[in-house]
């Protein structure tokens, strides 16, 4: 079985803060990491490999520094890794990103047929959850999003059975392969790399595919291939924490206040 897993290098956005004085983003000391959702995708790919044998190829598009996320995947047990890096790929939105990724998977597929592609549900910097479906669509692979459990892979009959997380329920689905799966964070707990794994991963040469290799139309990739454009950005209105008194008989007023918040925050619905 050949599994491709897509990983992205992202800034650790949970560490980004807004300077309360200037209302600007404080990025100092914010490291780049593997997109947390993708760590679950890598883990699930590796678990399938452990279970059924085969090979895992990690794939990432990004600047040269993004090789760190591929090396992490290699350290964890991926067999191959390819970095897609070219200025021509830069500035891409989800549509242009899915183009480059899907073409890369097509190339890998031609060389060694791909049975499954794993992507994290979404990235923490973009939060769109669109690249997975985009890649699936472009490749014509069966699209399986929000997968939180894999029951089995039947290689002989070429199908996979997974559980998808719906609202308030789960769906057990049988799907034809090749398929693209986007994983939730609940699907597994990612393993930790061994030191020999890390050292091996660090010592390997990584193939980098630029557009000289990929030969994609400029109009379909990067900034030019991106239909969406950011007009402006601004800092969100932040709600300041509020401390109220609920002592000495004020608990009823406090409870009212809390109830209001529950409505304001849409925990309770007015209708």
């Amino acid at each position: 079985m050949h599994i491709v897993v897509c990983v992205k290098m992202v800034p650790d956005t949970t560490l980004v803060q807004i300077d309360p004085k200037t209302n600007t983003l404080v990025r100092e000391g914010v490291p780049f990491i593997t997109n947390p959702f993708d760590t679950h995708a890598v883990e699930e790919a590796l678990r399938l490999k452990d279970r059924y044998g085969g090979k895992v190829t990690a794939l990432s598009m990004g600047p040269p520094a993004a090789e760190m996320v591929l090396r992490r995947a290699l350290a964890l047990g991926a067999d191959e890794a390819v970095l897609l890096s070219d200025r021509a790929f830069g500035g891409a939105d989800t549509l242009a990103t899915s183009k480059v990724l899907s073409e890369a998977i097509r190339r890998i597929h031609e060389n060694e047929p791909v049975d499954l592609v794993f992507c994290g549900l979404q990235t923490i910097d973009g939060d769109t959850a669109q690249v997975g479906p985009g890649v699936a669509c472009r490749l014509g692979f069966t699209q399986l999003t929000l997968v939180d459990h894999i029951y089995e892979v039947n290689q002989r009959e070429s199908y996979i059975e997974v559980r998808r997380k719906l609202e308030g329920a789960f769906e057990r689905v049988q799907a034809r392969m090749p398929a693209l799966i986007t994983t939730t964070r609940e699907i597994n707990t990612p393993r930790y790399p061994t030191v020999p794994g890390r050292l091996q991963a660090a010592s390997r040469a990584l193939p980098v595919w630029s557009n000289d290799v990929m030969k994609l139309e400029r109009a379909e990739i990067g900034l030019q291939g991106s239909p969406t454009n950011v007009r402006r950005i601004f800092a969100p209105q932040r709600e300041k924490g509020e401390i109220i008194n609920g002592l000495n008989g004020a608990h009823l007023t406090a409870a009212d206040c809390m109830l209001n918040k529950l409505y304001e925050w849409d925990i309770l619905n007015a209708d």
Partner: protein, 440 residues
């Protein structure tokens, strides 16, 4: 203006310190002269290569790049600006695409409320553009939803009613959606940012080779260029970005449930229903749903996926008082969490533990009752969207992370909030439990 054509000075690009958000590499990608190198996420401009074209300035979403000029150049520029050339705006998009569409998401014939919320904001957009608002409904035996769609503001309904659409499956819904969109060419398509909506929207946008903006919190029309301004949180919610899809059509956006208000229902409204038929067979669909598994198995505590978590700490004084935590969690559709000391004391099993050595959670709402907020607990829950803390000690560290802090006795506040919540949910309160609210 051609006679005064003294060469317009072009300047050099420069980064304005502190404004770059490391969006990726848009400036680098936009530069025709390879004059931008990236260093730790931020651009470094190679001045010998920069030609001052200003592409990076325009593309930068955070207005972090400016062009700098020598004083001489500045003088010439000032002259230019005095002439005040009017900006001409024309839409580069294909005008064949018209009208605003809203996807009506349904499960077993019941519409997801987000669909109606979208009709509310869609109405506004359609009115601003002076076009029709349409709903498109896909499913099996879902004709009755057309009536509801009209009631919530749709002018027209597109419908594909086919047994193959009885349960949502990407390929079938994708084909159906493509059929309608390609045939009727809406300029805007809005969908709910639900699991289903995101699954379908991503596929649709890719097949249509168009832009899609996920999880919008604001939608409006830029009247000057008739473009949909789609505002959404980016960078982990640290900034808001307004996104356009200038040329590709339709302009697609998804919106999370409960973000937009639901419009009033008017049962009198009627409109045309345009029905199409789908010509795909079961063999064309690569997925088969084996089983639907309903949630709510009491044996497992799904803290990680919970929408609301109500947690108790040592301040609950004993396991016998945790019924209040359970009750509130149940009323709010949440699950029960707790601090480490509660597990240590044996009041609740480890599966409920939130914190460094327990579960890290990120629900929409976290209610901490009688939890002082030791660091080991805080790191497990401080990324929750909203945090309410109830604690007697006004200096408790939990208040540092709370959006609403109530300095009070959990044994006063909790019964009160339980009673009020139940009253507002209009749930039939059992007699013995109503008495609880009156306890001192």
């Amino acid at each position: 203006m051609s006679e005064t054509r003294r060469k317009k000075p072009r300047g050099k690009a420069r980064l304005i310190e502190g404004k770059c958000i490391a969006c990726g590499d848009r400036c680098q990608a936009s530069c025709p002269f390879d004059a931008v190198e990236m260093s730790d996420g931020e651009p470094v401009f190679i001045l010998t290569k920069c030609n001052g074209c200003g592409k990076c300035v325009k593309i930068c979403p955070s207005e972090a790049i400016e062009l700098i000029y020598t004083p001489d150049e500045q003088k010439i520029l000032d002259e230019y600006s005095r002439k005040n050339e009017p900006a001409e705006i024309e839409s580069k998009a294909d005008s064949a695409w018209k009208h605003v569409w809203v996807f009506v998401e349904q499960t077993e014939g019941e519409a997801h409320p987000v669909s109606w919320e979208l009709l509310g904001v869609g109405r506004q957009l359609a009115d601003d553009l002076g076009v029709e608002l349409a709903a498109f409904i896909l499913g099996d035996d879902v004709g009755h939803l057309a009536h509801e769609a009209f009631g919530y503001g749709a002018d027209r309904v597109y419908l594909i009613d086919d047994p193959i659409l009885s349960r949502y499956r990407t390929r079938a819904y994708l084909e159906a959606g493509l059929l309608l969109i390609r045939k009727y060419k809406p300029e805007i398509v809005l969908m709910g940012a639900t699991g289903l909506g995101r699954d379908l929207a991503g596929a649709l946008a890719t097949e249509l080779r168009t832009g899609l903006t996920a999880d919008c919190t604001g939608l409006s029309i830029s009247l000057a260029d008739r473009l949909l301004e789609q505002t959404r949180p980016a960078f982990g919610g640290n900034i808001m970005a307004t996104i356009l899809s200038e040329t590709a059509r339709p302009q697609m956006a998804s919106v999370r449930p409960h973000v937009m208000p639901k419009p009033a229902f008017n049962g009198e409204r009627r409109g045309p229903v345009i029905q199409e038929t789908l010509s795909i067979s079961e063999d064309d669909i690569p997925t088969r749903i084996v089983e639907i598994i309903r949630e709510k198995s009491d044996s497992t505590v799904n803290l990680a996926g919970a929408h609301v978590i109500v947690s108790g700490g040592r301040g609950m004084k004993g396991p016998e008082h945790f019924w209040m935590i359970r009750e509130l969690a149940e009323l709010l559709g949440g699950v029960v969490g707790c601090s480490r000391s509660v597990v240590d004391a044996g009041w609740l099993p480890y599966a409920h533990q939130v914190g460094q050595t327990g579960k890290t959670v990120k629900p929409k709402l976290y209610i901490a009752c009688g939890i002082s907020g030791a660091i080991q607990h805080l790191v497990g829950m401080q990324n929750s969207d909203y945090i309410i803390a109830i604690n007697k000690d006004k200096n408790a560290p939990i208040f540092d992370v709370a959006h609403l802090g109530i300095v009070g006795d959990v044994f006063d506040v909790l019964p009160a909030i339980i009673e009020k919540t139940r009253a507002s949910l209009n749930a039939p309160a059992e007699l013995e439990q109503t008495a609880v609210g009156m306890e001192p």
